[in-house]
Symmetry: C2
Subunit: 280 residues, 2 copies
């Protein structure tokens, strides 16, 4: 399974889950179907495959995680937050529509994520559906992503702790939803969650390197925002080379976490390289 195939499959599934008709639905589709890497659904699908599941068994959970990610991008881009005009190479939702529509779009994407998870189509066992909801709600809320964004906006707390919340919590959830569907509670769970934690840190370091080195054209969003805003991160604090070394260490660590799976985990292991060396 290559990332490109995953993206097409995920987009088709997202497309079918999103509402149609009216301005709110239009903005939700604009936000959630914008070209993107679909890293989080990729992680859910690959973890599912590693545990012996077909893509269709975990696809709705993968989409729910992506819907939460899409909502967070819409709200993070708002003028009162990071004030970005460009996202994924296109105008941000509040630029393409308006601010009120962007707030409601994020809100409705979040609701939809939980609507998708709680639906009997997601899993026959209600307890599994409730566990999926609990996992994603915790990752998204005040114990996860929302807190991370708050700390980031205010420049508060240790950077890695902030990033673990802002980015790491949802990346962890992308892996965990597949573990919940598989009802896996053995050392495979520990290994995969440790992998996800490494990947979350790696993702943020790569983002910081891209922010410093990328161009607006390659990124599809404004470059140099963190250094321009005087925001502290590993790159602005220790330089690109130190960040890249830390990144390489994390790639090694992430890959080693999955050694117990043998060859079957190569796709997830390669994803670590992809995350560090991506150009956007």
């Amino acid at each position: 399974m290559t990332p490109t195939l995953v993206t097409a499959e995920v987009d088709a599934a997202l497309e079918a889950l999103l509402p149609t008709g009216g301005r709110l639905a239009e903005a939700m589709r604009y936000a959630a179907l914008a070209p993107g890497k679909r890293l989080r659904p990729f992680l859910t699908l690959e973890t599912g495959q590693l545990l012996g599941f077909k893509a269709r068994d975990v696809m709705r959970a993968a989409c729910a995680v992506e819907l939460i990610h899409a909502y967070s991008l819409v709200h993070d881009d708002l003028p009162c937050m990071d004030d970005d005009d460009l996202r994924r190479g296109r105008p941000t939702v509040h630029r393409q529509f308006d601010e009120a529509t962007a707030v409601l779009t994020g809100d409705a994407l979040q609701s939809l994520a939980f609507e998708v998870l709680a639906d009997p189509l997601t899993h026959a066992d209600g307890a599994v559906r409730a566990d999926l909801t609990l996992c994603l709600a915790r990752a998204a809320g005040a114990g996860g992503m929302a807190s991370g964004q708050m700390l980031d906006l205010r420049g508060e707390g240790p950077i890695e702790a902030m990033q673990a919340l802002k980015t790491g919590a949802l990346i962890g959830a992308a892996v965990e939803v597949a573990l919940i569907i598989g009802q896996v509670a053995d050392r495979r769970r520990e290994a995969l969650m440790a992998y996800a934690a490494d990947l979350g840190l790696l993702f943020q370091i790569a983002d910081d390197i891209l922010d410093a080195e990328g161009t607006t054209e390659t990124l599809g969003k404004a470059a140099g925002k963190d250094s321009g805003a005087g925001k502290a991160n590993l790159v602005t604090r220790q330089g690109v080379e130190a960040a890249r070394r830390r990144g390489e260490d994390l790639v090694k660590s992430a890959k080693a976490r999955l050694d117990l799976f043998g060859e079957a985990a190569s796709s997830l292991q390669n994803a670590a390289d992809f995350v560090l060396h991506r150009r956007s």
Copy 2:
């Protein structure tokens, strides 16, 4: 059970569910624990009692509905939405904190609602927890409240259809969560859902009358906003007297829906009078 008692009980339960520590938690508490009527939790608790449940059996579901309501107020008050400075007699969240904090506070309150519902403490049966999540997510999202707010902002569509989404969906969910916990699917369900639909319409008509006749002091929020903004509603279109007559008809209808329960439903029946004649 008097409304005052319900409010104290609900506030104690909300207080225990809300996070502590840090600016985001502080703003979430400020928003969700602000003095309010707690009409939606009241409806959940009273419906639960009518079905033979104790308050503690439905209290977490009642709180989840109130958390969604609290999130919607925080976002509706934002400068890009209704731009309100005052809510429940106090500065709105973006006034007391700042806009970015208000966006994240609403976001995190929504996540918390689903975290509360999906937790095993809410109900022993996972399928019930998932059904509760599905019910509330549908009421909150693009098929309910968020769409209603979108239509209201843009002055689109028939007014009663907009109001049924904006206010009615969540009032319906407040009753429905108790029906889900009770796993009631007979004519009691139909009667209670019809009552909730009447009450939702009634609530909005009363709001429109208050907006036209109340003062900022009695309301705890800006008065005359709709008429000032040239917004169409039953009052601005047909006058206060016609709205009041429609309200009295709805009170009668709402009460009659519950006749099959006899005396046991008097508290819910009285709530219809309360909703029409409230002063804030």
